[in-house]
Amino acid sequence: MDIIVCVKHVPETAEAEIRIDSTGKNIEKTGLVYDINEWDDYAVEEAVRIKEKLGGTVTAITVGPEDADSTLRKCLARGADKAIRLTDPAFEGSDGYATAKILYKAIKDMPFDVIFTGAQAGDDGYAMVGPILAELLGIPHATMVKKIELKDGAAKVNRELEGGLEEIVEVKLPAVLTIQTGINEPRYVSIMGIRKAMKKEITVLGLSELGLNANEVGEAGSWIKIEKLYVPPVEKQAEFIEGSPEEVAAKIAEILKAKGLI
């Protein structure tokens, strides 16, 4: 099985303070810590597990700046064999559609049996790159995959639906599968693994090597044009309880008592 995994280098924002920059169209990126997109972490792990069982290769590929090498190295340390970074100033401002086009150009002449992407990226949350890539390649896809059984020329997968329900579908290979969190337990990467990964080469390709025109990518090649970012208006702001932990705890306990909850 030759598996390609698309990975995105994203800022960790769950606990960070986010500020909108002076253009109003982006966030202030300085000071943010970047890592592999959570969903892609599961996708890489799944690919490596399949390789360990069936043989073959795992190639990690990203569209991103040079900094994204750290995410690719993480994939190599996990067990990926090759890493490709697609970088060009013209790629900046690409939405999910333009990103899928860039990935398509790089992947279309590569040999592969299956492509994994994450179900969504934690930053933009489009949940579109995987299935668009499949369409451009002219191959089927299945999204939100939580279990994979590879058979002769097909993948039998469990797709996550709402409310705990799943469905089993079978797709012909080659196909794109978008991976949902919880499909496996990503392994810890050993120091040895990281050291080895530092020595591996990362292939870097740009606009012309991929045979793309500048107007096919970036904002010009995108469907979505960001006009402005803003802090979400609050419909109902919580009443903040202040004080030392002890005071706060006492106040909550009083509230609960007043409401008959204790």
């Binding site: 191959i139 044009k225 909550i252």
Partner: protein
């Protein structure tokens, strides 16, 4: 006259709420653009659904085919491509659900039609489509415009719009199925129901919900004690289940359970919409989070900006004290 398409979502014999929510917004958009609201219904033996939809739209386009019995993005995509090419709706609305996420992006790519996903609001301004969506787990809102085109596709977030009842008398139009060949690439096999048994968090009056802020499995007994002091049950956000720290019957949210307890205490949960949709109707919500900007504070009644490990033991003690 330009149509606004709303693609009806149904599963196991039932129309899903998102359909009615999109019809509410679709009606408004149709009025503002001097267009017509059309519900699009694909399936097999779906007459009953068509009747129901006809009260909320100007017309219901129905395509029935054995191959459309269960959702299959390959079959759905072929039919939707055909309908969009033939009728050139100004806009096609699809739910940002497991169904819509599997269908909309490849449909848009096949038609080369601009698509915006997970929209929480939509408007036409001088003929171009403007959408509102969120980034960074709901910490930032984005206003974006779509590339000018003849027809657009969007996916719409669940519960972004209310499901309003209307008493329209839409016509039901049966269309011939354009599916001639076999659906060869993708095959629906079966549904897998969640395993029965375990704890029913939907029945609990008090839930203590934990999120990634709990940091480590070894901290779970600490919050369990708080839950016990309150006579409540432990629930959680998705990462806790993904890591295997709690079984999946404890998960609150779109892919877990929808709960409505008298009290929901959210500890170290950021408030991603997938979680919030599962608990926002709780009677009383108290959230503890280190981050004052965490979106959970937009649904909570009371908020505490603090390290949960400092608050939880104190809170447990105070509760036990008051209980005497």
């Amino acid at each position: 006259m330009a149509e606004i398409f709303v693609l009806a979502e149904h599963r196991r014999g039932e129309l899903r709420d998102i359909t009615f929510e999109m019809l509410t917004k679709g009606k408004e958009l149709a009025e503002k653009t001097n267009g017509e609201l059309t519900a699009v219904l694909l399936g097999k033996n779906v007459k009953e659904h068509a009747e129901k939809l006809s009260t909320r739209a100007k017309r219901v386009l129905v395509v029935e085919d054995d191959k459309l019995e269960n959702f299959n993005s390959e079959a759905y995509q072929k039919v939707m491509m055909h309908l969009i090419k033939e009728r050139k709706p100004l806009l096609t609305m699809i739910g940002h659900t497991s169904f819509g996420m599997d269908l909309a992006p490849s449909l848009a790519a096949s038609l080369n039609t601009p698509l915006a996903t997970d929209c929480i609001d939509l408007a036409f301004e001088n003929g171009t489509l403007t959408v509102t969506r969120q980034m960074y787990g709901g910490k930032v809102n984005v206003k974006a415009t779509l590339k000018p085109a003849e027809t657009y596709i969007v996916t719409v977030r669940q519960a972004a719009f209310p499901a309003e009842e209307t008493a329209l008398n839409g016509e039901i139009v049966e269309m011939p199925s354009p599916l001639s060949e076999e659906i060869a690439e993708k095959r629906f096999i079966e549904y897998v129901l969640p395993p029965p048994g375990g704890v029913d968090i939907t029945a609990a009056e008090v839930l203590v919900g934990i999120g990634r802020g709990i940091k480590d499995e070894s901290n779970i007994p600490l919050v369990e004690e708080l839950a016990k002091a309150l006579g409540g049950v432990l629930a959680c956000s998705r990462p806790i289940v993904d890591k295997g720290w709690l079984p999946n019957d404890r998960q609150v949210g779109t892919s877990g359970k929808t709960v409505k307890p008298k009290l929901y205490i959210a500890l170290g949960i950021s408030g991603a919409f997938q979680h919030v949709l599962g608990m926002k109707n709780s009677d009383l919500i108290i959230a503890v989070n280190k981050d004052p900007k965490a979106p959970i504070f937009n649904v909570a009644d009371y908020g505490i900006v603090e390290d949960l490990f400092k608050v939880v033991p104190q809170l447990k003690d105070k509760i036990l004290e008051l209980k005497g």
